[in-house]
């Protein structure tokens, strides 16, 4: 029994005026609202301590908001989790890579919610694991212990777990940390294919430069939603500076320093110490230029 597909006419995630407070009195999120549609990839961007991980925890029901409501595919968070709608791909640093589990064991963990009381795998569970491993190209390595993998392979194992789970909403925490550029392209291709099947993928990342490559939507976050919308109109220099304040490295090269002609366009480089975002001005509006990457 796999979780239901997302309805195309209903928001996949609807966050309505939530505030989240911790037991020690700190307010992590204040009156945040946004809605995300199925079949899209959305980047969640903000400085460290901006409440991004708290937002993830709220979406997964670890923390109940003090005010406001979260609705997932028209249901409460608890009901959505129970039906396996939401998958979480952890940050590499949060995983104990010495843990005695093989690649196929981790992918099988995606099926636990579909199994009976004793979690004994049936034919459908094994088929789902086989298909997920094949899809991410990890079938040949299925008997490796997880610590014996490269950074990109590790990421793919956890994406396979989300696929085996059949989730329609996938939360990814910093998917490109410790991953080389070629693998990054492969992961992005996989995410795009998953989006095209109707899934919603929410990615928390510092890697500003890769966002225009693969994210349709962006949420700029700093304790509340600073800006949210399509990447093209939302992911702008002005919004980024509002969301990050002085934390970003900011390099600007004016047209007069670039070339000796009347072309006034300038190059702007914004970076949070990961792949930089490069903006190259056009006649009347800023255009986002993603740096070239080697093809897989």
């Amino acid at each position: 029994m796999n979780p239901p597909r997302l309805s195309a006419t209903r928001p996949a995630i609807e966050v309505d005026g939530i505030s989240v407070r911790y037991a020690n009195g700190v307010t992590a999120i204040e009156d945040a609202s946004f809605r995300l549609n199925p079949a899209s990839i959305c980047a969640l961007v903000g400085v460290n301590g901006s409440g991004k991980s708290t937002l993830f925890k709220t979406l997964m029901g670890f923390i109940a908001p003090a005010k406001g409501a979260v609705t997932i595919a028209g249901e409460t968070v608890a009901a959505a989790l129970k039906s396996g709608l939401v998958a979480y791909v952890p940050q590499s640093e949060d995983v104990d890579w010495n843990f005695p589990v093989l690649v196929e064991d981790v992918v099988m963990m995606g099926r636990y919610g579909h199994m009976g009381f004793l979690r004994i795998a049936g034919a459908a569970d094994r088929a789902a694991v086989d298909a997920a491993l094949e899809r991410v190209g990890m079938s040949a390595l299925r008997h490796r212990q997880i610590g014996e993998l490269s950074g990109g392979q590790k990421k793919r194992v956890f994406l396979a777990r989300a696929l085996a789970q059949g989730s329609q909403i996938i939360l990814l925490d910093e998917p490109f940390t410790g991953v080389d550029a070629r693998t990054e392209t492969a992961i992005i291709d996989l995410l795009r294919a998953m989006r095209d099947e109707g899934r919603l993928i929410l990615v928390s990342t510092h890697n500003l430069g890769s966002i225009p490559d693969f994210c349709d939507h962006v949420i700029l976050f700093n304790r509340t939603v600073i800006a949210a919308g399509p990447t093209e109109t939302t992911f702008t220099e002005a919004n980024l500076i509002r969301a990050f304040g002085g934390v970003l490295r900011h390099v600007r090269i004016d047209g007069s320093d670039l070339h000796d002609d009347a072309d006034a366009r300038r190059v702007t480089v914004l970076t949070d110490d990961e792949r930089p975002l490069v903006l190259y001005g056009e006649r009347d509006r800023e255009k986002v230029v993603a740096p070239e990457r080697p093809k897989a």
Binding site: L81, G84, V86, A87, V101, Q165
Partner: protein, 278 residues
């Protein structure tokens, strides 16, 4: 050959040796199963803490006429819960909080023990008295250990997932709180069941070494648990028999055998790695 056979048969011709061995195997098995989770969850110090904290519970139970096991269980679990509460409500790290709570409770236990006249020997509480166990003690140990084993076997995959990736466990709708506190309750119960045989100090070794042995020998959770149980029961058998022939303390002998086994396996692994590297 007959000397080899009598190494086993001579000790086991005594009733007290038979009872001691049964208790040792029960305690060894449940401790080994639990130790796999403790080692993987990074909770080795938790076993240390809960077992020390049991002491005031025993003395208070004696003073109020309750069964000692009930007092011990309540104090052990109380220590684990107090640690969690204090850690959530202060800026001090978990290991420091745990150190304060369990040493405080242990000290309180010692103060009470010296002040109150009991029929217990401090030595037996600390280090166990395996060869002194009565049939009733065997029954009590089995009554706790067997249901605990059944629970661990039935929920082994959920508990393993909880140790590996609690966020995913929660995201697929598992009751993470139940697993967390289930593991703590099981830990307190196991320590209570082990009291008579190995005491509150030596049980710490039984709760760490088998899981550590399983972890260095295998690369998958199921085999890890099997190796842990085999290593623990083997050490219990050998330790008990050796203690008879050498006229040595039984509980400590088991722990010595188990620790030597761990050291030996680490050395073998290092040598094999060095040989493989050429």
């Amino acid at each position: 050959m007959s000397a080899f056979i009598s190494f086993f048969t001579l000790p086991l011709s005594h009733d007290f040796m038979q009872r001691g061995l049964v208790v040792a195997l029960l305690v060894g098995t449940i401790c080994a199963m639990l130790s796999c989770y403790l080692v993987l969850k990074g909770w080795s110090l938790m076993g240390d803490a809960v077992s020390h904290a049991v002491l005031p519970g025993i003395v208070l139970a004696f003073m109020t006429g309750l069964p000692l096991a009930v007092g011990a269980f309540a104090a052990g679990l109380g220590c684990a819960l107090a640690t969690g509460y204090l850690q959530a409500h202060s800026r001090v790290r978990e290991d420091a909080v745990m150190g304060i709570v369990f040493s405080g409770l242990f000290a309180l236990g010692l103060v009470l023990f010296v002040k109150v006249e009991t029929d217990q020997h401090l030595n037996h509480i600390l280090f166990g008295n395996m060869l002194g166990v009565q049939l009733g003690d065997v029954a009590e140990t089995a009554l706790i250990a067997l249901p605990a084993m059944a629970f661990l076997l039935a929920r082994r995959r959920d508990l393993m997932l909880y140790c590996f990736d609690p966020a995913h466990a929660r995201a697929i709708g598992l009751r993470v709180g139940f697993l967390h506190y289930g593991l703590l309750v099981l830990l307190a119960l196991t320590i209570v069941a082990s009291l008579k045989a190995v005491g509150i100090i030596l049980v710490i070794a039984m709760l760490i070494a088998p899981g550590a042995i399983g972890l260095i020998v295998t690369r998958r959770f199921g085999p890890m648990m099997i190796v842990a149980v085999l290593a623990a029961t083997g050490s219990c058998l050998l330790g008990t028999l050796l203690s008879f022939h050498l006229d040595a303390a039984t509980g400590p002998m088991i722990v010595v055998v188990q620790s030597l086994l761990f050291a030996l396996l680490v050395v073998i692994r290092q040598v094999r790695l060095a040989l493989a590297a050429g």
